[in-house]
């Protein structure tokens, strides 16, 4: 027998998890179709909702629907995969391995970021199709970069949610309740600055609120947003994302202990 035990590495585990997520998707790519329907509907609804709202309504429509569909793809996907691990009975061997579950979740979240971006692309195509013209983005390249950035801040929330899914079988229920609050709160349905003032500080709890505001700066000419500027928004997004990831790390460590105590790693 080997004298020293093999050692896992975080990056390798995360890549393995990402790879498995891709393989599972490729095994049944037809699942893409149901997940394409939601962005189409969001895109059409959003187009109607924002129609006539100023000259940049197209951008608002795209961002709003994009966020809604990405929330579904990214957050839902991350937690759901953990629920599925429990159903498949794969949560036990995964937890039993030396790799902390957090790094497995990170890999899946990365995959969900990719599929979320795909949803965003569909929204874009639908809204542009409905309008018959593309939006006039102030800075198209920066807009795309910040779009990806928004996804990453969303992913941070996804990681926290995944921890809930490890902890309890009822996480899906909790997440559904949180969903609407998130739509309104982060300003993906309406820009937060239009909401009653009291809502703003709550929305700032979510990293994507900051990232989305930053995105509006580069997409909409003359946008003023929260008033602390593009880089203020970016800094806020980075800082709040870091806080989320740190919280996720802490939760994961505790949650793992708690599920070992509860003994609910497997559904019977």
């Amino acid at each position: 027998m080997a004298a020293s035990a093999p050692a896992y590495t975080r990056a390798r585990s995360t890549v393995a998890s990402l790879r498995l997520a891709v393989l599972q998707f490729m095994a049944d790519p037809q699942w893409l179709i149901p997940s394409m329907i939601a962005p189409v509907i969001f895109g059409l609804v959003s187009f109607e909702l924002f129609r006539g709202y100023g000259p940049y309504f197209l951008i608002y429509a795209i961002l709003g629907a994009g966020m809604m569909s990405m929330w579904g793809q990214t957050l839902y996907g991350s937690g759901w995969a953990t629920g599925q691990d429990r159903n498949f009975g794969t949560l036990e061997p995964t937890i039993q391995s030396p790799t902390p579950y957090l790094y497995v979740v990170l890999g899946r979240v990365l995959w969900n970021v990719v599929s979320g971006l795909f949803g965003g692309l569909i929204v874009y195509a639908v809204v542009v199709g409905a309008a018959g013209q593309p939006p006039a983005l102030a800075n198209p390249l920066a807009s795309i970069a910040l779009f990806v950035f928004v996804m990453l801040t969303l992913a941070a929330i996804g990681v926290v949610f995944a921890a809930f899914y490890v902890y309890t079988r009822y996480a899906g229920f909790i997440q559904n309740i949180g969903e609407f609050a998130f739509y309104v709160g982060t300003g993906c349905m309406f820009p937060v600055v239009l909401l009653p003032f009291a809502v703003t500080p709550i929305a700032l709890v979510f990293p994507p609120t900051w990232a989305l505001d930053a995105l509006r700066y580069v997409a909409i000419p003359g946008y003023t947003g929260f008033g602390w500027g593009l880089w203020g928004d970016v800094a806020g997004a980075v800082a709040s994302t870091a806080v989320y990831l740190a919280i996720a790390g802490l939760i994961f460590r505790r949650v793992e202990r708690q599920v070992l105590a509860k003994g609910n790693l497997s559904d019977y």
């Binding site: 027998m1 393989l23 009975g89």
Partner: protein, 327 residues
């Protein structure tokens, strides 16, 4: 490698509390383990037997760091299963029987790749090792098929392959041959034995008595959350009253006759059960001095009498001990 036992537990208990319902919650409390003390030496196969619900899986999960004990301490390879999981996990393998526990939409090989990565199997060795374990469990030809197409036994073999992929020092096997056809089960037992000669300690639970008899030099019997016996097979035979078993069959016996059999020298137990139209007496005999002829001599009025002797089997031992516990 350090010495000391492979497994050492003291007073391990485990209580499950589950709630049903949403508004009107109903609490149920199950005491799955009620104070398990067990020592298992290194480098051999140790068998844990016990009826359904005895707590075997619960105990296996505690030892393999998947469940915390409610109280008590458990050391594996000299390290605490609750406090030193980071040290222990790469050194242990776990095979929980059944059809679950695999990613069904990808191939067997991909399942192994994934877990090889999580266990940190050296990347340069990964493919070779996967090939090796697939060969060892006999899944080479099916390696690239999706596991959802696998039969139950093939899934079971893949579980075993995953369990040994990272070359653990100790391997926990919870009913490893469940659902395997006789040939595959035999090959699996051969594989298990070959692992021991590689120096792996194996902790195995099973419901198949011959399997434990064949594989395990030492056996413990768990019943209702307690270890009721732990010994070699010979030791267990002595414990239940002798390594000779007589079976005596006729159309009914009188109580007086049964009582006289009990008084033969070395007879520790006479149990009676209906066996079709006949009655069968099973006698546990401790010494050589009593013979089948002595038995015949005490039962003259039975022309149909059939008497035979066999060695006390593990199944006899098991049934004796489990019944004793139940009464």
């Amino acid at each position: 490698m350090s010495d000391g036992p492979a497994i050492e537990t003291r007073g391990v208990t485990r209580v499950f509390e589950s709630r049903k319902g949403f508004l009107f919650r109903e609490k149920t409390r199950t005491e799955a383990l009620k104070g398990v003390d067990l020592v298992v030496e290194r480098g051999a196969i140790f068998g844990l037997l016990g009826p359904n619900g005895a707590g075997k899986t619960t105990f296996t999960k505690i030892l393999s760091t998947l469940l915390l004990p409610t109280s008590g301490t458990a050391l594996v390879l000299g390290h605490s299963v609750t406090k030193e999981t980071a040290w222990l996990r790469p050194r242990m393998g776990l095979v929980l029987g059944g059809e679950r526990g695999l990613y069904n939409r990808v191939s067997g090989r991909e399942n192994l790749r994934y877990f090889a990565d999580l266990y940190g199997v050296p990347i340069a060795e990964r493919e070779r090792r996967i090939g090796e374990v697939l060969e060892r469990v006999g899944l080479t030809d099916a390696a690239d098929r999706r596991t959802e197409e696998y039969s139950r036994g093939m899934k079971q073999k893949l579980h075993i392959a995953r369990g040994i992929l990272h070359r653990p020092e100790i391997l926990f096997l919870d009913e490893p041959t469940i659902g395997l056809d006789p040939k595959s089960a035999r090959e699996t037992r051969k594989l298990i034995r070959s692992l021991v000669s590689d120096g792996v300690t194996i902790f195995l639970t099973t419901h198949y008595m011959f399997e434990a008899e064949e594989l395990c030099p030492r056996i413990a019997i768990l019943s209702r959350g307690r270890i009721v016996a732990r010994d070699t097979l010979d030791g267990l035979r002595t414990l239940v009253g002798g390594d000779r078993t007589f079976e005596v069959e006729a159309y009914g016996f009188e109580d007086r006759e049964i009582e006289s059999l009990r008084h033969l020298p070395g007879v520790s137990k006479v149990a009676s059960e209906e066996y079709g139209p006949a009655t069968r007496l099973t006698m546990r005999v401790r010494t050589r001095e009593t013979t089948l002829d002595d038995v015949r001599g005490l039962l003259p009025g039975h022309p149909e009498l059939a008497v035979r002797e066999r060695r006390t089997s593990l199944e006899d031992v098991y049934l004796d001990l489990v019944e004793e516990e139940a009464t």
